[in-house]
Symmetry: C2
Subunit: 197 residues, 2 copies
Amino acid sequence: MARPSRAPVAPPAEEGNRRAELIRTAGRLFREKGFDATTIRDIAAAVGMRSGSPFYHFKSKQDLLKAVMIEGLDVALVGMRAVAGRGGSPEELFRDLVHAHLRLILDPANDFSILLYEWRSLTEESRAEVIAAKDRYEEVWRVALEPLVEQGRIGGGRLAHLFVFGALNWIVQWYHPEGGLSIDQVAGKAVDFLLRP
Amino acid sequence: MARPSRAPVAPPAEEGNRRAELIRTAGRLFREKGFDATTIRDIAAAVGMRSGSPFYHFKSKQDLLKAVMIEGLDVALVGMRAVAGRGGSPEELFRDLVHAHLRLILDPANDFSILLYEWRSLTEESRAEVIAAKDRYEEVWRVALEPLVEQGRIGGGRLAHLFVFGALNWIVQWYHPEGGLSIDQVAGKAVDFLLRP
DNA sequence: CCTACCGATCGGTAGG
DNA sequence: CCTACCGATCGGTAGG
């Protein structure tokens, strides 16, 4: 009564906010416990919903995982392209990419790291979509690495970027912030390992 | 009647064979589908048992995973120590270790690779046991790497072995036998990447 | 987004 | 190692 029916026609930001909240929370739980071990009920409870409600925003649990991954890759790609656009020598570019990548996968506020280990949980179609996004991300790296491989600063030839990804992505397995090394310090050590003098 | 009661007192090899068969089959399925996505029924069916029977050999699904991992690490450790005992220069030893490690994690007949990605599925106690076995394995590597790091043939200082493991273990993510490279060829490329001239 | 619920599946067990 | 079964849980849905 007090409020006239001037309420917005299309549900505004709020709807997107809840969706974004689900993605963020699901990402965190998937990372902490794994996709299979995380239930829709866990996710719903963590955002203050009832168990059936996430399905109002996502048609399946799979779909939620796909959204988490693509969201993560989009954020990553934007960041990487910004770095790549800064210019500088191949070595400087490489250093910057390593630092940016590690901040991305090691930051606990980020859920990028589930991209590394939950491929198997995606359906065939979702996987194709996510792989396409991943390929765009890797392309930035391949281009950046090429001159360094050619100069002999990085070994491994055509496989160099795969070995580089391995050395970097594996860090999520052993890095702990309390260990005394900052992310940037680890990045420095990684560059020292990867790049020949 | 025809056969006198000279049947063996303790159930012989057969019992161990069934157990070993369960470990081998469970390992393959865990690797293919992941621990959570593999059911006891899958495993039982694959070895020709009924769904309840694996629990005659293992008291829980967890226990079966632990057995798969420890079995895998034991096999690996024996192989690695044999390599380490062969002697030779630090560089030769390193090459040999890389080849042996990759044969271990890339051979589809082996289930060593699930060690890399199913830590989360272990209970606290099982994990401690498996980590102890893993530490023994890594020790071989740390010793072998030390002189090379000191000579500047490998970068990364104290973290060198972690970066090396990363570059090597990541290979399971992208290697396909049909890709035209043999395991030993990939190993050669890996050494080229890791070891400075 | 909630209520109320389903169908299916799953790890595990008793009792032989 | 099988038969027969349980208790719990889970993804998902109808209907509002």
